[in-house]
């Protein structure tokens, strides 16, 4: 079984790159692009599922690309950790691509290609066991991302995209310099040959340069500011896609380098623990202060990065398992919440907490997705957040870091607070006539192809709002309002925009109820990180 699968590992990269490239030159046929794009992503997810099943017993698959001898070739490796993340990223890409199709954004000619190439780059970054090759795959991930940012940035400004490119390029350059330094010291960039190399302080510093670059990409505390600016400037669905892929791949690399090269060396892990704790505190409090839904969620995401990194910083078997479980939970829940925000922003043209109101009575499905996401993010049972957070708090206390355990609990309450803020303003508030005008204005803009800061004709907007109120009946089970005619008629968010968020919310419930499955997968993944000898043996072909 494993002998058959190993030579297929490069397909996780090669197939998406090839199909993505072919779609660029394919005739301008929406359906073909949508079907091929979705087909590729679903195939990637099924392949990753097969890998998860095969590696669940601790097997490590390794393939020396082009059958060069071990140590010379570029190895592709799949262990339980990379397979699990490969599966989650593929599922997230598919769901976000479904949203892009539903919202019509995927009709731009190159969107499908970009998403597929991005998924291919993610596959490469997760599977490669060579630091320089890792740099190449990070760039393969970034190039289509730049394209997505530019094409789908609805506000017309390039400011966010320029910032994104500049920060990421700077981080990549730093990473490359770190790889060069490691080569200078050790004479190799093969991860397996570098196992435990950080015993030598010079190598440790060279590897720390790589870790610093990765920390920029993962948005760890002192270098997290760029994330909120750039993710808020792009299309909301793209922000959901990036949140699941880019920062989490960076976190994966962080885990891998910490485990293989540093082998959990105490001094470095203490530094990471402090940075992670500050990140989760700063992110959570920054979120409370935000007035728009998307920056609020992005700061919650930064806080989540802190939670995940606490796992690796503890470097106990339980800590790493809890961190990985939290990573899986966080990717899914954050994707769900950002897609909820996407649906709101797409329909109402604004994500400002003080402008959109009263979604609770009108949008039962969207409200359900949001409530599941919000409670899961805060860590309440029976959702996946409870399982992951409980394990993480337990691991911190178990490792003697009682202070960190306390911080985790308190910060979860702060996260709940910012979610309550969204609930109180956007969902629970009373719907008023301005909300309808806002939605009408968004539709007028979309129809005329105007950007967010272009002036629109007030009469057009008023006519559009009238039309929507005439046209749409109140939702079933709700009596037309007595006092306010705008209460329950008018714009509704289309169901097709809500379904992707609901799917991810459903996954969060499933992982919460089946917490045993989530934890056992994470535990299996952590075994390969705590003891890297299997990984090394597979890569070196011994």
């Amino acid at each position: 079984m494993t002998g058959v699968l190993e030579p297929l590992l490069p397909l996780f990269v090669g197939a998406p790159l090839l199909i993505g490239g072919l779609l660029f030159v394919a005739p301008r046929h929406h359906l073909l692009r949508h079907v091929l794009g979705m087909g590729t992503l679903v195939a990637l997810a099924s392949g990753a599922l097969a890998l998860v099943v095969v590696t669940a017993d601790g097997t490590v698959l390794a393939h020396q690309v082009a059958i060069w001898p071990e140590g010379v070739s570029i190895p592709f490796v799949a262990d339980a950790f990379s397979s699990l993340l490969l599966l989650v990223t593929a599922v997230l890409s598919a769901v976000c691509f479904q949203y892009l199709i539903a919202s019509g954004e995927a009709r731009s000619p190159s969107i499908a290609s970009f998403v597929i190439v991005l998924a291919g780059g993610v596959g490469g970054a997760l599977l490669t066991a060579d630091l320089f090759n890792l740099f190449v795959f990070i760039e393969v991930m970034l190039l289509p991302s730049y394209g997505l940012l530019v094409i789908l940035s609805r506000r017309g400004g390039m400011g966010g995209s320029r910032l994104y490119v500049t920060v990421n390029l700077l981080a990549s350059t730093l990473f490359l310099a770190g790889v060069g330094l490691i080569y200078a010291v050790e004479g190799t960039v093969n991860l397996a040959e570098l196992a435990g190399a950080a015993d030598d302080p010079v190598t440790a510093i060279a590897a720390a340069v790589c870790l610093a670059a990765i920390a920029v990409k993962a948005a760890v505390f002192p270098v997290h500011g760029w994330l909120a600016r750039t993710y808020a400037a792009t299309s909301p669905a793209v922000a959901a896609l990036f949140s699941g892929l880019h920062t989490k791949v960076a976190v994966y690399i962080f885990y891998r380098i910490s485990a293989v090269i540093f082998e959990g060396e105490a001094t470095w892990m203490l530094a990471i623990l402090i940075l992670a704790s500050v990140t989760l505190i700063v992110g959570a409090f920054a979120a409370v202060g935000e007035r728009e839904i998307r920056p609020l969620l992005v700061f919650q995401m930064i806080s989540g990065i802190g939670f995940i990194l606490v796992g690796v910083a503890l470097f106990t078997p339980l800590g790493i398992a809890a961190g990985i479980a939290y990573m899986v939970h966080h990717m899914i829940v954050m994707g769900s919440l950002l897609l909820v925000a996407s649906a709101i922003e797409q329909t109402y043209g604004s994500g400002r907490l003080d402008r959109v109101a009263g979604l609770r009575t009108r949008e039962p499905l969207l409200t359900a997705a949001f409530v599941v996401g919000a409670l899961s993010l805060a860590g309440l049972p029976p959702f996946s957040g409870f399982v992951a957070k409980y394990a993480l708090v337990l691991a911190s206390a178990d490792a003697g870091q009682v202070l960190v355990a306390g911080v985790l609990v308190v910060i979860s309450l702060v996260a709940l607070m910012s979610m309550m803020k969204v609930w109180a303003d956007m969902f629970n508030g009373k719907r008023h006539a301005d909300v309808e005008l806002l939605a009408a204005e968004a539709r007028v803009r979309t129809r005329a192809g105007l950007l967010d800061d272009d002036p629109v004709d007030g009469d057009d907007v008023a006519a559009e709002a009238e039309w929507a109120i005439e046209r749409h009946d109140p939702p079933r089970g709700v009596q037309p309002a007595d006092e306010d005619p705008h209460d329950h008629r008018g714009t509704r968010i289309p169901v097709r925009l809500i379904v992707p968020a609901l799917v991810l919310a459903g996954l969060s419930v499933a992982l919460g109820l089946g917490g045993e499955l989530l934890l056992s997968l994470a535990e299996q993944a952590s075994v390969g990180l705590v003891d890297t000898s299997d990984y090394v043996r597979a890569v070196m072909g011994e």
């Binding site: 400011g159 060069g180 200078a184 950007l451």
Partner: protein, 130 residues
Amino acid sequence: MSLALSIGVLTAAGVYLVLQRGMIRIILGFVLLTHAVNLLIIAAGGVSRREAPFFGGDTSVAADALPQAFVLTAIVIAFAITVVMATFAVVGRGDDDTEPDHPEPDDSASSGPSAAAGGVESPTNSGDAS
């Protein structure tokens, strides 16, 4: 020593330019920074051995081929990204913090909607080109 000094000077100049506001200067800064890193990788392979590593040459004096392969790859990637960044410098409207290369006449009031429509089109086209 000269290699180390070159890397230092290139890095310093690159960092200085990246911290400027104009996109063109940032791009030039990155060009210098990537040159610095490429030299660093070449230096990592050692520069004292310079003979060709093939055609039965003496391996004790042959140059390390791996850093050169790294640098070749890195140059190609840096070139591609420079092109993407150059695209970013010219698309979009003048609402960023970057300085215009030449002062433009103020016609934004008269051509609002049409200029906006153009603004939607041009990123799409440039994205395809990249």
